[in-house]
């Protein structure tokens, strides 16, 4: 029997790592870190979780320790946020290119300066070329479910890739919501003990990431790109199995009230639930609007996007991050680029807002949809526009 209990987002992440029976947790415990690794440290200290907990001297070391543990065949977990996430950036590439299925909770926070600890995706978007699978959770249940399914996807012998589960700083990490926790034996059946097929072993010497030259680098990267793209098929299979077992089904793009919708709004993360309320209101007033929620950011779900917008004439992409001096938030520019050749007849509009945890109300989401339609019809002087920013 599953249990429905109240859990802070950070604790939901820690609980998922515990139920996944991780072998190693390596983390740097100072701001901008969250309760995730604090709770895991408690679990290890009081014997709830039998794992090696490695407190390190920086996030660069945290990810390096995770890499070493994973290369040795350990199921490995860590968590970080914003500036700490940046400090581990270099090592992210090593972990993905060496096919180490580390799972990391990334608590998305705005990037300093100005100094802050609130949610947006300025940190997450810098990881889009690192070769990790990136999942965005909307609520605390999804944090738990994505970490659990993230291990299954990443550890699949066809994939062997690391997975980031993104959760909104503060809005999810420090907020308590009901979460359904499965029984341990159910989790064990879904996520059995894992054996990395190429774990380091003194009896069978191996090398990782040796020197490369112009002769072979491009082939190595092409293979890595194809592998990451193909991991989507495995994610679909794993989520089907997860749904059959636990009753909650996930997909790369969630569609909400999209039937007959000519205008679609696209969101990511926790504000998607506010957007749902705005869509409900507009639907109740007879407007043909719907919402698509992007869960899988890498590999980018091209096919699912094409299907989701098939009947739409306007797609408003709401971005919680800003690419300074660029063509709008990364999701907007990527979505527009993805649709450029496929759908000449769809207007893709980019709106940026809710930076650094600034709240957006249901009314503002409604205004966003109205403004998006207006831009689609009459155009805008800007490449993208901002929402809820004074001046």
């Amino acid at each position: 029997m599953s249990r429905r209990i109240a859990l802070e987002g950070s604790f939901a992440a820690a609980e998922a790592a515990k139920m996944a029976d991780v072998d190693v947790v390596a983390a740097y415990p100072i701001t901008p870190q969250t309760h995730i690794v604090e709770r895991l440290a408690d679990m290890v200290a009081n014997g709830e979780l039998k794992a090696a907990y490695i407190p390190v001297d920086s996030e660069h070391s945290a990810m390096s320790a995770c890499s070493g543990a994973s290369v040795a065949g350990a199921r490995t977990f860590t968590a970080t946020a914003s500036q700490g996430f940046f400090l581990m950036h270099e090592v992210l590439y090593w972990v993905s290119a060496m096919n180490q299925p580390v799972v990391m909770a990334v608590c998305n926070r705005a990037v300093a300066p100005p100094q802050n600890i609130w949610a947006d995706y300025s940190d997450a978007m810098t990881a889009r070329d690192t070769g990790w699978i990136q999942l965005f959770a909307v609520n605390n249940q999804e944090i738990f479910d994505f970490i659990l399914s993230g291990f299954r996807i990443g550890e699949d012998p066809r994939v062997l890739l690391p997975v980031m589960v993104h959760l909104d700083g503060f809005t999810l990490t420090h907020v308590i919501e009901p979460v359904v926790l499965p029984e341990q034996e159910e989790v064990d059946r879904f996520l059995p003990k894992y054996q990395h097929p190429f774990a380091l072993n003194p009896d069978k010497p191996m090398s990782y990431a040796v020197i490369s030259s112009p002769d072979i680098y491009s082939e190595t990267k092409k293979a890595q790109d194809v592998n990451l793209r193909q991991s989507k098929e495995v994610a679909l299979q794993v989520w089907k199995e997860f749904g059959d077992m636990f009753g909650r089904y996930y997909s790369p793009i969630e569609r909400y009230k999209c039937e007959g919708a000519r205008t679609l709004l696209m969101t990511m993360g926790s504000l998607s639930e506010t957007a749902k309320v705005a869509i409900d209101g507009k639907r109740a007033r007879g407007e043909d609007v719907g919402l698509i929620i992007l869960h899988l950011w890498r590999p980018f779900p091209f096919e699912e996007l094409y299907q989701a917008v098939e009947d739409a004439e306007v797609l408003i992409v709401f971005d919680r991050c800003i690419s300074l001096g660029g063509p709008g938030g990364p999701p907007f520019s990527e979505v527009r680029s993805a649709l450029f050749d496929r759908r000449k007849d769809i207007k893709v509009v980019g709106l940026v807002g809710a930076l650094c945890g600034r709240n957006l109300s249901v009314e503002q989401f409604e205004e966003m949809i109205d403004r998006g339609r207006e831009i689609a019809e009459k155009g805008s002087k800007e490449i993208f526009e901002t929402i809820g920013i004074r001046g």
């Binding site: 191996m206 040796v210 020197i211």
Partner: protein, 101 residues
């Protein structure tokens, strides 16, 4: 895994490179000589050498091979020409000379 031994590195395709950063067979360095960008090479004068082994200890690339008679010989397949052996030799038995173009 770049272990298609029938192929040279420049014949490997991207399909050969699945999980391409993992080498499950040891000895990949033997297939890749890395000494070819050297601009200077060490010359060892056995007459001055006292077989102390400091050159062998300090070489960052393990490119000084101990010989059976106790002397040391640079392995030019891997020597990068950094000159550390020449600097640490207490007998000044190793001199660096320019590689010819």
């Amino acid at each position: 895994m770049a272990e298609e031994e029938s192929k040279t590195v420049s014949e490997l395709t991207w399909q050969d490179m699945r999980f391409g950063n993992i080498y499950t067979k040891p000895g990949s360095a033997i297939r890749l000589k890395t000494g070819d960008w050297r601009s200077q090479r060490p010359i060892v004068e056995a007459a001055k050498c006292n077989k102390c082994g400091l050159c062998w200890l300090y070489c960052p690339d393990s490119a000084l091979k101990p010989l059976e008679d106790g002397y040391y010989e640079p392995d030019l397949d891997y020597c990068k020409g950094c000159g550390i052996c020449s600097q640490v030799c207490p007998k000044e038995a190793i001199t660096m000379i320019e590689e010819e173009a």
